[in-house]
Amino acid sequence: MSAAISLLWRDLRLAMRQPGDWLTPLGFFLLVVMLFPLAVTADPHKLALMAPGVIWVAALLSMLLSLDGLFRQDLEDGSLEQLLVAPASLPLMVLAKVAAHWLQTGFCLVLLSPVAAVMLSMDMAALPTLMGSLLLGTPVLSLIGAVAAGLTVALRRAGALVPLITLPLMVPVIVFATGSVQAAVIGLPVAGYMALLAAFLVLAVTLIPFAVAAALRIAVGG
């Protein structure tokens, strides 16, 4: 456990020293949000209608952008192999790494989402639901993405493989997260959606670290 916590701190300290790595996806998120008014319409009513979906899709894309670096740097400097042979539980270590990744991406997106909501003139009454759905949903995206990042970490020509693998698996999160925000916009109760998102999160936290650990052993150990 203490090993996992020190790994989490190490990853966060590394991120602090290379702010470009985690700031770029956040800038990308706002850029994608900005493109929709320019490409579709600047009419505030239509934008407000699209806002939940646009914000969620932009968040998903920006999370995908940052996934490639999740294990790659550790593989290149050899610390990933040290993790594999360390006497600590590998799934727990994976969970620590994913938590560090989420704090750099998903959590920052939660904090940035009010800005995106204002840009798309979303109804501010739905803002708590939007932030809540991001808070519950983005960790699931980080975990699913970690499976793909683990499977492709040692590949030279992974290319578009990570999005191809992860996007179909992320569909349920997108459906229920955007559903919750749309329900909040028209004043319907959102507790059910939140419960489902929380259920996904619990399922992902308990099962996916084992899949990632197995993936890393195959990808690195051969």
Binding site: L155, P168, L169, V175
Partner: protein
């Protein structure tokens, strides 16, 4: 005792044994598939009565439903083979999984294409974002992800293991995806067959469909076995028994 059974199982599922047994089965399976598909297609297209609402356009059901069923069953079969290969290190299961992935993806594409062709006269559009269509499309992307992973790895052994993990993650996700999409939107007609209920179609319509079902499954089985045998020869090309086979076959050829 258990050890003896285990040894026997391992010998039976060895690539070499699979190659021999598959080779014996293959002509019969192709023949069964050919006969059933011909009978089913002629019966369904020429002799089955037209539908009272959809006229003749419903006849595409005879290929659409079997293809969709194989596409869905194929993913589960692929994940099962993946689990077997990961847990018991059965090499043959790994190769079967790879064949099922390639062929299942084609059946998924066939189901989507025939569905689009059927949708035009029935719903007035090739594509709607209906739950079943959408989950089928997601299934196709799940297949493509597995296939992409296979082709990205250079070593066939690691590719098999990696794809097995992905298939397992996908198969756990499959019911969640299905129900989330179903909740999101649905327009598709209900299932044609439910194993526990009497079919709602008259026998003149569902009998040819059942014949087509078995024909398509026989075809799928034959295609998977044939592709797996190719895979075996390619992967085991350095072993003596494959070299012997190649020498024998090429002596026949020349």
């Amino acid at each position: 005792m258990w050890k003896a059974i285990w040894d026997y199982v391992q010998r039976t599922v060895s690539p070499r044994h699979f190659y021999d047994i598959g080779g014996q089965w293959l002509p019969w399976l192709w023949a069964v598939a050919g006969v059933l598909l011909t009978v089913g297609a002629v019966w369904g297209l020429a002799y089955a009565p037209p539908d009272y609402q959809q006229g003749n356009s419903y006849r595409i059901i005879f290929i659409h439903v079997p293809a969709a069923s194989i596409a869905m069953g194929g993913y589960v079969l692929m994940a099962t083979c993946g689990l077997i290969s990961l847990v018991w290190k059965v090499k043959t299961a790994e190769m079967v999984a790879r064949s099922v992935a390639a062929i299942g993806a084609w059946f998924c594409l066939i189901a989507l294409f025939t569905g689009a062709v059927w949708g035009k006269p029935t719903w007035g559009t090739y594509w709607v974002w209906d739950a079943r269509l959408t989950s089928m499309l997601i299934l196709l992307f799940l297949y493509l992800g597995v296939l992409g992973l296979y082709s990205a790895y250079e070593s066939a052994a690691s590719a098999g293991k990696a794809a097995a993990i992905l298939a397992l993650v996908g198969v756990v996700n499959l019911p969640i995806i299905k129900y989330s999409v179903e909740w999101w939107n649905t327009l598709h007609q209900g299932s044609t067959f439910v194993a526990t209920a009497r079919p709602t179609m008259p026998p003149e319509m569902y009998l040819p469909l059942i014949v087509m079902f078995f024909g398509c499954y026989a075809f799928f089985g034959a295609a998977v076995i044939a592709r797996t045998r190719n895979e075996i020869v390619q992967r085991e090309r350095r072993t003596q028994w494959v070299k012997d086979i190649v020498r024998k076959e090429s002596a026949h050829g020349i």
